[in-house]
Amino acid sequence: MKLVTAIIKPFKLEEVRSALTDLGLQGMTVTEVKGYGRQKGHTEIYRGAEYAVNFLPKVKIELVVPVGSVDKAVEAIIRTARTGQIGDGKIFVSAVEHAVRVRTGETDDSAI
């Protein structure tokens, strides 16, 4: 099992979700987050006051997939989340040791 963590532009969430669902991947966890990479921030002006806003709103998707689905999932996220502009986000893949479905007690691949 692998944990795929993708940080993307908020308005791309629905496209990404739909592409991942089409792959037969069930379930994901989404968090509204703030951060920055190379995009840096932007400037906001309220009447006379100018603020440099460094942390931009992003969406973090987390889903755990069987090892064999990782490449497809990553490819689907890249395909749907990409705008070609700076600030499209990042994907991290990491190992997951163990998984349990709370309701049934199923474990690992059958639990995800």
Binding site: Y46, R47, G48
Partner: protein, 490 residues
Amino acid sequence: MKLGPLCRLGSLAAAAGLVALIAAPALAQAPTPPAPIPNKGDTAWMLTASALVLLMTVPGLALFYGGLVRTKNMLSMLIQVFFTVCIVCIIWVIYGYSLAFSEGGTFNAFVGGFSKAFLAGIRPDTTAETFTDGVVIPEYVYICFQMTFAAITPALIVGSMAERMKFSAIVLFIPLWATFVYFPIAHMVWYWAGPSATVQAAKALASAAPEAKAAAQAAMNAVSANAGLAYQWGAIDFAGGTVVHINSGIAGFMGALIVGKRVGFGREAMPPHSLTMTLVGAALLWVGWFGFNAGSALEASGTAALAMINTFVATAAAALAWMLAEKFAKGKPSLLGGASGAVAGLVAVTPASGYAGPMGALVLGIVAGIVCMFFCSAVKNAMGYDDALDVFGVHCIGGIIGAIGTGILAAPVLGGTGIFDYAAGKIADYDMIGQVITQAKAVCLTLVWSGGGAAILFTVVNALVGLRPGTDQEREGLDLVDHGERAYNY
């Protein structure tokens, strides 16, 4: 004629030259026309207008201000405005109305007396004069209408010291400022003997036999002198450009200077927490302002309609002007700019609303939008004061533009109404330069009285309870520190 306290001014006494007395003794000498009866249309409109002006303050102003502060201070902003409305309503009926709109004896040029304290002598059939000889409205509705003005004016001030003034200091400052600044200024600008006393004295003077001329002239002079200082000068302020906006704007400016800058001002981001609420508030202000301006005609009349159309036009023009100026100055037009521009336009058209023509109001709005935007960004940044919600930049500057602009735009040659001369019974010849100078004098009077008064009162309150919370408390936010609650519990 029912008895003495009937008209808002003891006006018949003045007609007989007995300025300091109530009306009753004079009735024996002057021929008494039948008491005018309030028109139901006028009364219905003024009841409505009074409620509309309350809508401006709660929730309009409260939301406008609340949206502009950070989440941790949202409730403090709402409660400060709400508290102000409640406390001023109470002191208004106890002594405020009397200090503003009764005859004040020796100090009549500056402030009224206590003859109507606790609303003494006022009953449902007691009436107040409008601006037309022989037209009256129930005095209770006049009291309510003016009460809403007294309530919103101090509420405007709290925006200057937003996010950093203790509630206990607000609780002390607001009633003091209303008492020593608002009531006198309202008296100075708006109190006069009323149309019927003026017309009667003028008629008596015209028809007086040669040997009685001197006495009639003295009576006429007494009627003219029975007015507030700025009114005697001839300053015109239809709905409160000086009384409400310059008055509160300069007080807020003094507050911002004396209370000092917010912790982290200029170093930390302090963006508005909800411009959605700010727009809702600004829109409610606009709607309520029709009561404020059109209601100031005191009648359901053509003058009220003029004030209404001016309140549409100037506001829209100022909102567009501010956004356009922003587009050129900063690259992007903003919603906050549009909302601020709308308020600036409302402020500027307030004194002019019943005097300027609609095209005059259009120009006034454009000027107010651009100049106020300049003050709220360039001037404020250059001078470095922390007028948190731009009460000075919008209300004081917008009010001054309006007050001076009224002197220009009231001119019949520019589509204005001119000024009605009650003694002559017609529109007087218009002296624009003279009127602008008079307007400027009234502006200076208000700046000095309110600026000085506010500075003294802030100092007094600081000595008594302190103005600011501790630095840690300010960082925590006034909602929790002063009120023990949060605006949003997700």
